[in-house]
């Protein structure tokens, strides 16, 4: 493994109720620096809700989330993203009427031309920064073999390309931690293997990730450690080989 075990994200006893339904019921886990932490469990286990809570999109009813040495519980999503924890979505969330290149450029933080007066000052004020960003975005596009698509409208991409776009876009936001919600959903096997390889490369470069995934074979290849959820709780945590033999995990998957 690339980095020494060192927690970047600590989720403690997080609860989330929707009316009378407790979607997340006291979930606790840690995600380590430089690792891809898998978050698995049967449908309805509360994985996506927990991801939403960690990313700030859903307010927790109780519990505490610590990220990079600071308490980020209940912060709005944009503040959490600016701290370097960037999520992708279970359903494609591309900016459909922007080009692929624009999708990437939007994600860059702290752009001079993004304030009203900065924008009005014109290209002389923000043009240089923009050129740098275009260069960075091109490098990302090249790396993911998407350069030929840069002027394509994002809404016209295939399902798999949209997943790839989301990962590229998240990278432009300069993350320390990616929260990936089923990055392989609806992706053909060939492209899925490619995305898998990209993610492992990024991990080896030091990027940390938490990944919700249903396909256990992928999880086994990519994730270490693995966190298993069922009925809103974390029921097991550890290496996949170890976790998959445990009785409570088997029960959760078989009984649901």
């Amino acid at each position: 493994m690339a980095a020494t075990p060192d927690p970047l994200l600590t989720v403690s006893d997080v609860r989330r109720d929707f009316g009378g339904v407790r979607a997340v019921d006291g979930a606790t886990f840690t995600a380590l620096r430089g690792r891809i932490t898998g978050l698995i469990g049967p449908n309805g286990a509360g994985k996506s809700t927990l991801m939403g809570v960690v990313a700030g999109a859903i307010k927790p009813s109780a519990g505490r989330i610590e990220y990079d040495g600071a308490d980020v519980t209940g912060l709005p999503p944009h503040r959490i993203a600016r701290r370097g924890m960037v999520r992708t979505f279970q359903l494609s969330a591309e900016f459909a009427r922007l080009t692929v290149l624009e999708n990437l450029l939007v994600a860059a933080p702290a752009q001079r031309g993004e304030s009203l007066w900065g924008a009005e000052l014109g290209r002389l004020y923000w043009g240089a920064g923009e050129d740098v960003l275009v260069g960075q975005a091109r490098a990302v596009l090249d790396r993911f073999s998407m350069a030929p698509k840069e002027d394509e409208l994002a809404g016209n991409l295939s399902g798999g390309q949209k997943r790839l776009l989301e990962i590229m876009r998240a990278l432009m936001a300069r993350p320390k931690m990616l929260l990936l919600d089923e990055p392989f959903a609806g992706v053909n096997p060939t492209l899925a293997r490619e995305i898998e390889r990209y993610l492992m490369d990024l991990r080896d470069e030091g990027l940390s990730m938490v990944m919700v995934e249903h396909e256990l074979s992928v999880v086994e290849r990519v994730c270490d450690p693995v966190v298993v959820m069922a009925q809103g709780r974390v029921i097991a945590e550890g290496a996949m080989a170890d976790v998959r033999t445990r009785q409570e995990v088997l029960d959760a998957y078989l009984i649901g």
């Binding site: 990313a55 999109a57 709005p76 999503p77 944009h78 993203a81 600016r82 960037v86 999520r87 992708t88 979505f89 969330a93 591309e94 900016f95 459909a96 009427r97 922007l98 080009t99 290149l101 624009e102 999708n103 450029l105 939007v106 994600a107 933080p109 752009q111 001079r112 031309g113 993004e114 304030s115 009203l116 900065g118 924008a119 009005e120 014109g122 923000w126 043009g127 923009e130 050129d131 275009v134 091109r138 596009l141 090249d142 073999s145 350069a147 030929p148 840069e150 002027d151 409208l153 876009r169 998240a170 936001a173």
Partner: protein, 337 residues
């Protein structure tokens, strides 16, 4: 050209400029940022009323009209006050409705706001003279310039054109910048934009206020031209005329807004004026009852929106994504193949 024709043409030109300003402001909110502001005309109206009351002079007992806060501010203060008043109202309305509600509910709040505003202005007669509205609003610098009415009207057209050009440049400064790109991203998927660090609430509020200021200024330029303003001038369907202009011209395209304003509020509604009130149909003499043409205008605007949404939803001048990316960048696109 006859004087009458010149009056007519200069009036049309002034209407065009005012409508272009209005459509540009709403296009920024709706086309670019995705804010569904069904109360847009209220912000035009507030600008118009503000410009009127700060130039009508103090109200006095026995005056034929009554209003709050009368003053005789010199040009160009009434226009600035109009922009400021609409901007402040936008901020208040935005803080209440844009922060928490989903966008479909925001749209409903705006529609209701439009109805409440009309009812209030109509029934609280001490506010802005109720249903009769305000009249005799002085025209800016009319006495100082000392021009004959026709010449004054051309000068006014130039002034309105100047303000419209400034508005266009200001709006283009936003749309052709990283800010405009972020706004379009927010429009396409606000949750994803927030997840990338964009403060959605602040961006919505910003554009709501900028659009409101533009609306207010357009209202001021309008009221200082026609010199009167009443609740009948800004009923909620007026917002849909602007929306129709955006949909016809092309959403999120500034030139589309200009063409939309030319075609819908000016061309389309102006042309129906020339429909005959009585004509022969298959040998029978038909007389239209009064008000039928006005009513048909609304039907026509509705049909126009439907036809465009059905056959050409992108409008005549579609949005042009990626346009402000540096030219060299576009030339080298695809080199990574």
């Amino acid at each position: 050209m006859s004087d009458a024709m010149q009056f007519y043409l200069s009036t049309l030109l002034i209407y065009l400029f005012i409508d272009v300003m209005g459509v540009l402001g709403l296009n920024l909110q709706f086309g670019v940022a995705g804010i569904i502001n069904f109360a847009y005309i209220v912000f035009v109206a507030v600008g118009a009323y503000t410009a009127a009351v700060v130039s009508l002079g103090p109200d006095f007992p026995g005056n034929f009209q009554h209003y709050l806060f009368g003053a005789s501010w010199p040009f160009p203060l009434p226009i600035l006050a109009a922009g400021a008043a609409s901007g402040v109202l936008s901020l208040v309305v935005g803080l209440i409705s844009l922060r928490r509600l989903r966008s479909d509910y925001q749209a409903m709040v705006m529609l209701v706001l439009s109805l409440i505003a009309t009812l209030t202005a109509t029934n609280a007669t001490g506010l802005v003279n109720g249903p009769a509205g305000l009249a005799n609003v002085p025209q800016p610098l009319f006495d100082q310039l000392g021009l004959p009415p026709l010449e004054y009207q051309w000068v006014y057209a130039i002034w309105a054109g100047l303000l419209t050009a400034l508005t266009f440049l200001f709006v283009r400064g936003i749309t052709n910048s990283p800010l405009g790109r972020t706004l379009r991203a927010m429009r396409d998927n606000d949750r994803a934009a927030a997840a990338l660090g964009k403060n959605i609430t602040a961006l919505r509020l910003l554009i709501f206020v900028v659009g409101g200021v533009i609306a207010g200024i357009s209202g001021a330029v309008f009221v200082e031209f026609i010199q009167a303003w009443s609740p009948g001038s800004w009923l909620y369907p007026e917002t849909f005329v602007f929306l129709a202009a955006i949909i016809v011209g092309g959403s999120a395209n500034n030139w589309g807004a200009v063409v939309g304003a030319l075609l819908v509020p000016v061309g389309f509604l102006e042309a129906t004026r020339f429909l005959p009130q009585d004509f022969n149909l298959f040998g029978r003499h038909v007389v239209l009852f009064s008000g039928l043409v006005d009513a048909l205008q609304w039907v026509a605007v509705g049909l126009l929106i439907l036809v465009f949404l059905w056959f050409r939803p992108q409008g005549l001048f579609p949005e042009r994504p990626g346009r402000f990316t540096p030219r060299a960048a576009i030339a080298s696109a695809g080199k990574g193949e």
